[in-house]
Symmetry: C2
Subunit: 174 residues, 2 copies
C-alpha cells in the first residue's frame, strides 16, 4: 500500500508578511526560540525542499541534510552528496519523492517554493512564526501569479518568548 | 497641558500578509468576528485616518464618522460633511489633529497609509487580525520604500472564532 507523503511548511515572517530583505539576504533576524523549534522539527523529517536561493544562503547547513533543491538550472536531477538539484518542470517531483519512500518532507521556502508547493497540493501543514517586527518592504511569504483564497484552519497558537514571537500551526483545508 | 494623541492601527490580513486583491477591491473577505471587533473599537475613537482608495471603497460608511482622508488630490484641506481631505505634503497633519483636540485616532489603511503613519510616529498600537487564508498575491500590509526593522512587542493574543481567526495586539517599541 502506498502511503501519502506529509508535506509540512515552515516559515518565519515579520508581522507584515515579509520573510527577508531580498532573495539573497541571510535569515539572521529570527529569534533563538524559532531557530530551536525549527531544528527540533527538522529532526523528524526525511528530507527538506528549498529553492536555489534559499539553498545558496545556507549551503553548509543543507549539506548535512537530505535536501531537494528546486531549480531551473538543471535539466536532469543532479546529485551532490546529500543534495539533489531537481528541475520540477523536467522531472515528476511527486513520483521522485514517492520512489524515495519519504514519509515526512519539510518545505523551507523561499516564496516561490511555498507557492509552488501550495499549488501542487504539497503543503498539508504550515507552521508560521511571526516575529514582532514590521519590515514595510522585502520578500513576501508567498509569491503567486494570481490572487486566490486558499483555506486553512488554525490548529494551535503558541507564544515562544517574552518579546512576543508567536507560532501558529495551520492545516491546509483545500 | 498638551495630551499626546494615541494612534491605533487596525489591519485584517491573510496568513501571508496580504490585505486585499488590489487597491480598489472591497474588504468583504474578513470574518464577522473581526468586523464586530473593529466596529466596537471604532466607537471609542475620535476620528479615523484612511487613504483615498480605502475611503472610496467604503465611502458611505466613512461619511458616518469623523474621517481624515490622506490624498494628494487636494492642496488645501477640503471639508465634505464629516470627511476632511488632507494632503499631508501640503498641511501639517499632526498640528491639524492636535488643534482638533483628538485623543484617540484609528489608522485604517491602506498599505501606504499604514507605512506613512509608522514612519511619522503615528502608530502607537497595532491590532492585526489574521484570517486563516493564504492569498499568494495582492496588496501587502505595509508599502514602504525601504526595508527597515521596526520593533513591536506583543500585548495579547486572542482566537476570535472556530476557523481560527487570530487577533494580535502589538505596541510600537520604536
Amino acid at each position: 500500500m502506498e502511503t501519502k507523503i506529509k508535506f509540512i511548511g515552515y516559515v518565519a515572517t515579520s508581522i507584515d508578511g515579509r520573510i527577508s530583505k531580498n532573495s539573497s539576504a541571510s535569515v539572521n533576524w529570527t529569534s533563538k526560540e524559532d531557530w530551536d523549534f525549527l531544528q527540533k522539527s527538522l529532526s523528524n523529517v526525511d528530507a527538506v525542499i528549498v529553492g536555489y536561493n534559499t539553498y545558496k544562503i545556507s549551503e553548509d547547513r543543507f549539506k548535512q541534510r537530505k535536501t531537494i533543491v528546486l531549480t531551473s538550472k538543471v535539466s536532469e536531477p543532479k546529485i551532490k552528496g546529500s543534495i539533489i538539484l531537481i528541475n520540477p518542470k523536467k522531472c515528476n517531483l511527486s513520483q521522485f519523492l514517492k520512489a524515495k519512500n519519504y514519509k515526512r518532507v519539510a518545505i523551507l521556502g523561499g516564496s516561490y517554493v511555498y507557492d509552488f508547493c501550495l499549488r501542487r497540493k504539497m503543503l498539508d501543514e504550515l507552521f508560521v512564526t511571526i516575529e514582532p517586527l514590521v519590515f514595510t518592504s522585502g520578500v513576501s511569504m508567498f509569491n503567486g501569479k494570481e490572487f486566490k483564497k486558499y483555506k486553512f484552519s488554525l490548529q494551535s497558537i503558541k507564544r515562544l518568548n517574552k518579546n512576543g514571537t508567536v507560532l501558529l500551526k495551520y492545516k491546509n483545508e483545500n
